[in-house]
């Protein structure tokens, strides 16, 4: 398929359709509304299910219901709506049901604004509802990645019977750039054996997240943890640039990672030995790779569009071995390449002084 000019939100919606989406339930919220609008047209055109729910609370529970029947189903929202979906997400996670969720993140807290942000990092990687689990979280840095990750999200969700969140910041949702959509995949009409379809010639299937006995609930949790361990081992994704020979590593994802790329490129041109690690999965975080790289570098600079959320994962991976700096903008402010370059410059100079002092000792 040829490349075409596509807006992020529309591209995600169309990618989901082509990945065989059978049902969508959602509630309008900027900056993701075009996604819902596109599906309101396309899903109906294709004879598939589209429903505008009365709230995000209802939307995620409709998704839960539909997902229990084993179809490909998804919802989308932006930060305040994701907050409302937390309850439903926890129930979905507690019953091993595959579900895809798109979060086009905006500035917060509170009603905040409709500008791009990465303020949901904690909300999607850590606290997506009560209980012990992490959803799989994919963070696209371009419209093309948004498309690819949406398709991937369905495959991962079904493979692991787990929640997969595509966490795109508002910039990715709103911008237009050339990208290539996948071929239309046929809808999978076959339902998995655990699905609720009516107990015809078999025992009833039951989907629940309640285990009253402590040891049963713990046994379930252990099963979830084993699954997540497998996810951690196999699904961490990231891209690297200029990491073969560097003193300072910049870590950033999504739009912040993309802007950091320009800044790092410029820093390289100015002779600084800087590299970039751009996580594509926020959970699992590419901690193993980062800790390997830690042995080869002198410092890390984290760049985010929040107050420093992934920063905590970077610190865990680096484990206190080298200094970790941070540059972030909040409230929907997108950093300019120059600002990041200045931050790189500052950290690089600090590093040079430290290295010189080390040599003197």
């Amino acid at each position: 398929m040829a490349k075409e000019m596509l807006k992020g939100n529309v591209a995600i919606a169309e990618a989901a359709v082509r990945a065989g989406l059978q049902a969508y339930f959602g509630y309008p919220i900027t900056p993701q509304t075009e996604l819902l609008e596109h599906l309101s047209k396309r899903m109906v055109e294709l004879g598939r299910v589209f429903l505008q729910a009365e709230s995000e609370v209802a939307a995620i529970n409709m998704v839960y219901g539909a997902a229990c029947t084993g179809v490909r189903v998804m919802t989308s929202s932006s930060s305040p709506g994701i907050s409302l979906m937390q309850e439903g997400l926890s129930y979905i996670a507690g019953s091993d049901i595959p579900t895809v969720l798109i979060d086009v993140m905006r500035g917060g807290p509170g009603l905040g604004n409709i500008l791009p942000s990465q303020g949901d990092y904690f909300q999607v990687t850590r606290s997506a509802g009560h209980g012990d689990y992490h959803p799989i979280v994919l963070a696209p840095a371009s419209v093309q990645e948004a498309i690819d990750f949406t398709v991937l999200a369905f495959d991962l969700a079904e493979y692991y019977r787990h929640i997969v969140i595509v966490a795109a910041d508002g910039q990715i949702g709103q911008m237009m750039e050339p990208a290539e959509l996948p071929e239309m995949r046929p809808v999978n009409e076959k339902r998995p054996e655990w699905a609720l379809t009516g107990a015809i010639d078999r025992d009833p299937n039951i989907i629940t997240s309640i285990y009253l006995e402590g040891h049963e609930m713990e046994a379930y949790n252990l099963k979830v943890q084993a699954k997540l361990k497998e996810v951690k081992k196999s699904e961490a994704r990231w891209v690297e640039h200029w990491t073969e020979d560097m003193d300072l590593l910049v870590v950033g994802y999504g739009t912040a990672g993309r802007i950091a790329y320009s800044a790092v490129e410029e820093a390289r041109e100015r002779g600084m030995k800087v590299g970039l690690l751009r996580p594509q999965t926020l959970w699992p975080f590419p901690e193993k790779r980062l800790s390997e790289l830690t042995d080869e570098i002198e410092a890390v600079l984290v760049v985010e569009m929040n107050a420093g959320q992934m920063l905590e994962d970077v610190r865990l991976a680096v484990s206190g071995q080298i200094p970790v700096g941070f540059y972030g903008r909040m409230g929907g402010v997108v950093p300019m390449p120059d600002e990041i370059l200045d931050a790189i410059d500052t950290h690089y100079k600090r590093l040079a002084i430290r290295l010189r002092d080390k040599e003197r000792v």
């Binding site: 609370v57 209802a58 839960y64 009516g198 009833p204 039951i206």
Partner: protein, 260 residues
């Protein structure tokens, strides 16, 4: 454990419905949740829906109802059963989708989901158990608790000046155009139990015919949290609940009458 004891030359007059699982329930003695379960199972049997039904259990004393029916089931979050049912029914229109909800679940935390499923005319059936109290959490005030009713969170009796008035859910939902069949029945005596069963049969037929949203509200007893013996509790349904919650057909669209 076997369902029927076969004695030669004797007619079987009472059997466990196929749709009712052969297990002990956890309901208190004298609780009419059990009666409602039996009625729903009988109705599913009579309409040959056991292998097509999908039950959405809710949060309340009936939280384990998914164990008590021989049908595909799931367990919704508190109040969200109608949304879950909508999700199921939209992708599986050929299944018979039933939610089973208490009054705290439906009329309080889940009223938005219930109203919107009703107004959309979602082709689902709600079995609504109104016992005027939060049973599972130990007897707190429900949106349906009567004025002056003493509960563990209204120890001096429900004071309508502060707690507001009880909600008549059937009347409320019947105002919505998407609804096809909304009735209130009671489980306090044999005659009314039979009528409740008939209403369930109609509601399920409404869904099968694709006529829209159906709900059967059943006035139900909670002897444990009302602090009464089972007999007193049934009497309380009759004496105290019935006047506030009249039995009646609140919405029966013409197409439904043809099914009855």
């Amino acid at each position: 454990m076997s369902t029927t004891v076969c004695v030669p030359n004797m007619e079987v007059v009472y059997e466990r419905p196929i749709a009712l699982a052969d297990v002990h329930t956890h309901y208190c003695p004298g609780c009419t949740h059990g009666t409602a379960h039996r009625l729903l199972a009988e109705a599913l049997d009579e309409l040959h829906m056991q292998d097509r039904a999908i039950l959405v259990a809710s949060v309340g004393c009936s939280v384990f109802s998914y164990k008590y029916f021989n049908v595909d089931s799931c367990e919704a979050a508190h109040g969200r059963a109608p949304a879950m049912a909508t999700g199921i029914k939209r992708v599986n229109p050929d299944n018979i989708v039933v939610t089973y909800q208490g009054d705290g679940d439906l009329a309080s935390i889940g009223i938005a989901e219930a109203i919107h499923a009703a107004t959309r005319g979602d082709n689902i059936t709600i079995v609504f158990i109104n016992n005027a109290i939060y049973g599972m959490t130990g007897g707190q005030m429900a949106p349906t608790s009567l004025p002056g009713q003493r509960t563990n969170s209204s120890p001096l009796g429900r004071d309508v000046r502060s707690a507001g008035y009880p909600m008549r859910v059937s009347e409320l939902l019947s105002q919505l155009d998407g609804t096809a069949y909304i009735v209130r029945r009671s489980l306090h005596d044999a005659k009314n139990v039979r009528k409740a069963k008939k209403a369930l049969l109609t509601a399920l037929k409404v869904q099968e015919a694709g006529l829209g949203f159906s709900m059967v509200e059943m006035l139900s007893s909670c002897p444990t949290n009302w602090g009464m013996n089972p007999q007193e509790a049934l009497q309380w349904v009759e004496d105290s609940m019935l006047p506030y919650y009249p039995i009646g057909d609140y919405k029966v669209i013409d197409a439904v009458r043809e099914l009855m």
